[in-house]
Every structure is written in structure tokens, then in C-alpha cells.
Symmetry: D3
Subunit: 155 residues, 6 copies
């Protein structure tokens, strides 16, 4: 078995998907940012009143998903038909979930994972002045559907 992103001489390439079917595809990814309880409280507090960290991070995640092919060297450019990013405070941390859809020849896992990652980085950026010990963690694919390889569900 070998990685699809290398040819038989070991050179990286963008895989030929031109013979793959155009189908409806969806991917959902999740991740989290852990932080001190007081930091989390500030986020919750700001949300209610003024300074909504999670709203800024949501937009950053959506915008980043559109740049995925510009960030990940061997990703195909794709016309995304839906991007949603949800951030919530749960289990003592900021939880992030991104859902991406396309109708195309290849999947959108990387777009969902990129949205989660950049939303998490944005939370970090906005809060770093009060808490440098935050961690971005547990970024993973939880659902993928459409395309030849079928449905994948992790949780």
C-alpha cells in the first residue's frame, strides 16, 4: 500500500480526479480550544455583552475554508456550496464544528478541518493576551459522505 499523493517515483503530485464522478459531498470536522476557567468565563461574558470572540472566530473559519487549496499543497480547488462553523462553550472548553458541502469530484474533509483549525487559531489570537497556556486540540473528521469510498462516521 502507498500514499496516493506520490507517483511511483516518490514525487508529490495533485492526484488526477478527472475520471471521478461528480457527486454531492459533505464533511464534518470537530476540534476544541482548552484554556483556564477564568479565560473561558471571559469569553462567555463577552458574548453576552460585548466583544464576541466566537462570532469573529466563526467568520475566520468560514473564510479559511475557501482558502484550503491555497494552504494545503496538493488539495484540489473546489466550488464549495455550503460552509457552516459552530462554536460553543462546553465541557470546560471552546468546542468547534465545521460542516462543508460541495458537488464535485473530490471530498471536502480538508475544507472542514481547515475551517476548524483557523477558527481555533482565531480564538487563540483574541484571547492570548490573558492566557498563553491555551491548547488547540482534538481536531478530527467526524463525518464524510458522498463519493466512491462511501460514508465514514467517527462518533
Amino acid at each position: 500500500m502507498s500514499f496516493t499523493h506520490f507517483d511511483d517515483k516518490g514525487a508529490a503530485h495533485m492526484v488526477d480526479v478527472s475520471a471521478k464522478e461528480v457527486t454531492a459531498r459533505v464533511a464534518v470536522a470537530r476540534g476544541a480550544v482548552t484554556m483556564a476557567p477564568e479565560t473561558l468565563a471571559m469569553i462567555v461574558d463577552g458574548r453576552a455583552k460585548k466583544g464576541d470572540v466566537l462570532a469573529v472566530a466563526r467568520l475566520a473559519g468560514i473564510m479559511a475554508s475557501k482558502k484550503t487549496h491555497d494552504l494545503i499543497p496538493l488539495c484540489h480547488p473546489l466550488a464549495l456550496s455550503k460552509v457552516a462553523v459552530e462554536l460553543s462553550v462546553a465541557q470546560g472548553r471552546v468546542e468547534i464544528e465545521a460542516t462543508v458541502k460541495t458537488t464535485g469530484q473530490t471530498g471536502v474533509e480538508m475544507e472542514a478541518l481547515t475551517a476548524v483549525s483557523v477558527a481555533a487559531l482565531t480564538v487563540y489570537d483574541m484571547v492570548k493576551a490573558v492566557d498563553k497556556g491555551m491548547q488547540i486540540t482534538d481536531i478530527r473528521l467526524v463525518l464524510k459522505d458522498g463519493g466512491k469510498s462511501g460514508r465514514y462516521e467517527a462518533e
Copy 2:
């Protein structure tokens, strides 16, 4: 106490750093990608022979650090003077470390964290056909120096 990225009406803004001193700054961030042992073995194997996943991810991380201000809404654009990204196989996972330097009015934590995140996403992308259960995890700042707030060391 409140977040610096919001003004007193709660509106997000890019903080005014024009009165801050121009100083030499450095930041180091770390993170990891966890995966099945067989997947990790394929990466190690490919590295020795052909298809170097880690070399591709290293470049993606370096290039992404230059796009940080384009990804994180309230980050200042900065002229980076050094970016290095190291990937290694250790403790049963791929470990990533990024070091970024600038001479400027604001720090480079986000540039280092972005380099780690995109290097991790690139590892994921190249390996996802054989292992969908990978996780990107433990992304954190380990060192920051230069600027008024002084040295921060996490590990």
C-alpha cells in the same frame, strides 16, 4: 480585565501597535498528529525511500506562516525574518515544531501556531486515504520572547 481585540463598545478591531517599540521577537509553537501505528510506519518508510510526507508538510507550514495575517482577522501583517518548521516521528506520532522571528512592533505567536496547524493539516491530507482516524492535537505556544511582556516559556 477585557480582551484587547475589542474596543470599549465591543467592536472587534486591529489593535493599534504604532506606539510599541520595534524589537527582535521570536516564537516557538508545537503540535502533533496522532495516527495508527501502521500509518506512522508508512510515513517513516516513505521518508527513507520515496514520498516524503514530512518534507511536503514542512514547506506547507513555512508558506502558511507568511499568510497568517490573511487568515486570522485581527493579526497585523509582519515582515518575517525567519521561519523554520521541523517534523519528526516521536512518541508514536508526528511531532511538529515551528520557530518564527521578526523585528517589529508585535509578536509572532500566531505565525508559529499557524505554521504548526497547516503542517499538521498537510500531513492529514497526504495520509487520509489510508487513515481517517488521525487527530491533530496539542497545538500550543512553547516560547515567546521580545517585546514589552517579556519572555514566556511553557515547557
Copy 3:
């Protein structure tokens, strides 16, 4: 009634267009840059001889329309099939009109409006050393066709 770019919790998202039909779509937008008569005379003069402000602005508008999804947070990326930007001196000001076409699941109003806006900004940039009192004004949609909502014509 509510805005389509927010979900029912008020979170911004990129609308799901995956169920919409792929149809031929067109949009036309217009706008203008007002300025002192002597400034306008310089543009006309330069055009005839050397230093064609309007030709530079036209290209800037065309190139910007391709970046629309990168500028407007909730815009879908689209494969544009035609972009034309016309600039002319009329009614004592620079008049700008952009026409954009696509075959896709969503309209191209924002691409046409972005082309007009950036062409106007480019006129401003090239002329600002001689006239700081210019104004960019009257940017609006004049035609939209294709898609479920049918034809819209403003003028």
C-alpha cells in the same frame, strides 16, 4: 422575514446552495467617481496621449471580481465565465459598468459590484495626488438574470 446569511440562532454562515439549479447567470453593476473638472480633464488628456488611468482601473476591476469570495466573507467561490468592465467619462465624472457571467448555483451580483468598487478605488489611487476631494458614489446593481428569483432590472 429574516436575512438568509444567518441561521436561526443568529450565526453567520455561507448559505447552502447545493440544491439550487445550475443555470446561466448574469449581473451588471454601475458606479461613478466624481472629481474636479480639471482632474477629469487630465484623465481624458492622459488617455489620448500617455498614462491611461481608465485602462489600469479596468484591469484592476476585472482581477478583483475573481477575488470576490476572498473579500466578502459569505460569498461562494464561483467559476466566472465572463468579466467586462467599461469606464467612460460622462456627466462630468468617471462612469463605471461591470458585467459578469457564470454558469452555477448562485448569482454574480457581488462579483459585478466588487469589480466596479475596485475599478473606482484604482481611479482614486492614480489621481489622488492631484485631487483629494474625489468621491466614489452610486454603486448599485442594474441588472440580474438567471436563477430562481428571475430577472431584476433597475434602470
Copy 4:
């Protein structure tokens, strides 16, 4: 008199600023989006409850100011030290004001004007499903300071 953005043969070029002094510079630009009173009421209403159009537009304006040199062909790339965009409902329309600072060899008028323009386009995008007759208007420079040409104040 002639435009600085063309050489003596009429060829467009990015002006040589290497001999100009590095000074603190600021620019303020303003503009507006006009719309039907009911549309404006929806924006005000959404702001209070859910779906904050103006917060999304503010972020889009800030992010766009960092892309100015990528949009306007002959603009110099600049390290911005502050960007703030304010949106408010006044005089029956959405009013936008952007303030940009840098310490550099050239001014930031275009960055402020670009922030206003893209914030206005984003308002348009989010509201266009309910009101196609909106207009983006009165985009102009209101303040510029720093640099050899001195202070300019329009209002």
C-alpha cells in the same frame, strides 16, 4: 502637471518611495449604504437580537484593508499598525468609517478607502435578498496626516 503613477513615456509604474521618510501616518475614510427604511429596520433589529450584519461587515472591512496592495495595482505593500472600522445606523442609512495607521514611507488612504468599500459590499451581500435597490455611496477621504504633503481634512 501629470499623474505620478505614470513615467514620462506614459507607462504605469509603482512610484519609487525609497527616498521618502519613514513617518507615522494615519488616514480616515467614510462612506454609506442607502436602502429602504424597512431593510434598515431589519439590520437594527437583527443587531439587537441575532444576526449582526454590521459586525460581519466590520471584520470584512478590516481584513480587506490588509489586501489593499493586492487589489490596487500600483499600491505599495505596507505593514499596517492599526485598522478600525465603525458601522452605525444614522441619517436613514448605514454609515461606515475606517481609520488606518502605519509607520512607513507612503500613506494609507487607499487602505482606509478599501476598508470602507469592502465593508459596504459586505452589508450589500448580506441584505441583498430582501433589497436589491441599495446603493453604496459617498466614499471619500476625510482625514490624512503624516508624510511630506501634510494634514488634509475634508469635513
Copy 5:
């Protein structure tokens, strides 16, 4: 006869391809970097041991092909379905070949030529400290197929 990228008034525009058929298209471009024999020997040597110039250039070429429409003013944005870039040492120089595929309404010659050009520039960048006399040369289209104008083969 006239150039298709200008309208009948001589204004540049992005050609309307909306009436063209969606077909499978491919393009192959080639080019080379000439340099001193000792420089070439260093590349070959580094490749075997450490510091693979050609692997870095290959990735840069692939990534650049995805930016073609952002670089070439009148190029249409396209969803590329395959990009491969091969670099080899032959005839006393570095030879580069790029192959690009799409299924769309317009060809991918520019994407293949851009991949070759940026791969060549990257070779230059990595080696320039030891050899400033390098030249990038012989960049040309060698194959184009798909679309109305039929097959073109140069070599």
C-alpha cells in the same frame, strides 16, 4: 485578425466562454534552468543526500498552477483536476515539465506554463547564492488537447 482578449474598442476583457462546451482538457508545458556545471552538480548531490532543490520546486510549481487566474489578468478561474510537475537533470540543465487537466469551458495552457515558470523561479531562488548567472529558458507549450480547437502538439 485580432486578439480575443480585447473588445472592438480595444478594451481588455475576460473572454465570454459561457457558450463553450464543458470538455476534458489537458495541457503540457516545458522549460529549463541553465547554470554552471558545478551548480548542477550540487543539485544532483543534494538530491541524493540532503536538501532536495527539485522537490521544493515541484511543490511550488503545483501550488502556483492553482494561482494562475490570480496572476494572469484575463485568465478564467478553473477547477483543476490534476497537476503534476516533473523536474530532472538532463542535457546539462534542470528540465521542467508540467501536466495540467481540467473538465471545463476553457483550456489549461496558462496553468501548465505558470507551473513551469514558478518551479523554475524556485530553483533559481534556492541556488542563487552560489550562481547568479543562471537563466530560465525555453518555456513553451508542448501539448494541448480538448476543446474546439483540437489537439496541438509541438514536439
Copy 6:
């Protein structure tokens, strides 16, 4: 001797220039596009009347020089203080020359070479419908000054 863009383990990195002096730097690069005499005649003809290929290519070259660090993986981002691109018809081909200046810690050779390359690609794009046998050739550095390594002049 070894390449500066690799560390001692052979990993690519962006070289640390933080200890280098900030000095005024300039670079000049040249290149050409060869084509059939009739194609060249069309360019000359269009220039005089309508459809100025060289003016479009000039702008594309200027804009591309600002993207150099985004295209070449290990290039440092730089604040360019001047970019000029000249295109002329000479010796039976289109000749291109780019001049770039900065005040910074590293040189601008790559910015000048990128401007020439993208200007050449743009000429190719605009003319390719009438001549597929064009070649982009002889791209090289002709002058570099400023910085520790001193003046380099090739021609």
C-alpha cells in the same frame, strides 16, 4: 559549500536574516518572449491603435512582484518601495525588463525575476489564440546592488 535554503539535516527553511543590516537594495531582471513575425506585428499594430498587450502585461508583472513571497516557498515577505516593468519590441521579440527596490534585510532578485516571468506569461496568454509556438526565454538577473554581497552586474 552548500545551499543556504537547507539546514544541516537537509530540511528546507526560510533563512534567518534578522541579523542582516537594513540597506537600500535594487535588482534588475530581463527576459523575452519569442514569436512569429506576424504575431509580433499584431502586437505593434494593436499598441498603436487598440488592444495594448504590453500595457496589460506590464501591470500583471508589477502586481506579481508583490506576490513573490506567496509564490516562492522560501522567499521573505518584503515591503517593496518601487516596481517598474518595461516591455518593448526589439530584435524580433518582446523584451521585458523589471526594476525592483526595497529597503530591507534581504535582496529583491526574486521580485524582479517574478515580475518578468508573469509579464511574459501574460503576453503569452493574450496572444496564444493566434500563435501557440511562442517561447518565454532568457530570463536572468542583470543587476543587483545593496546588501553585504555587493554589486553584481551581468551585462
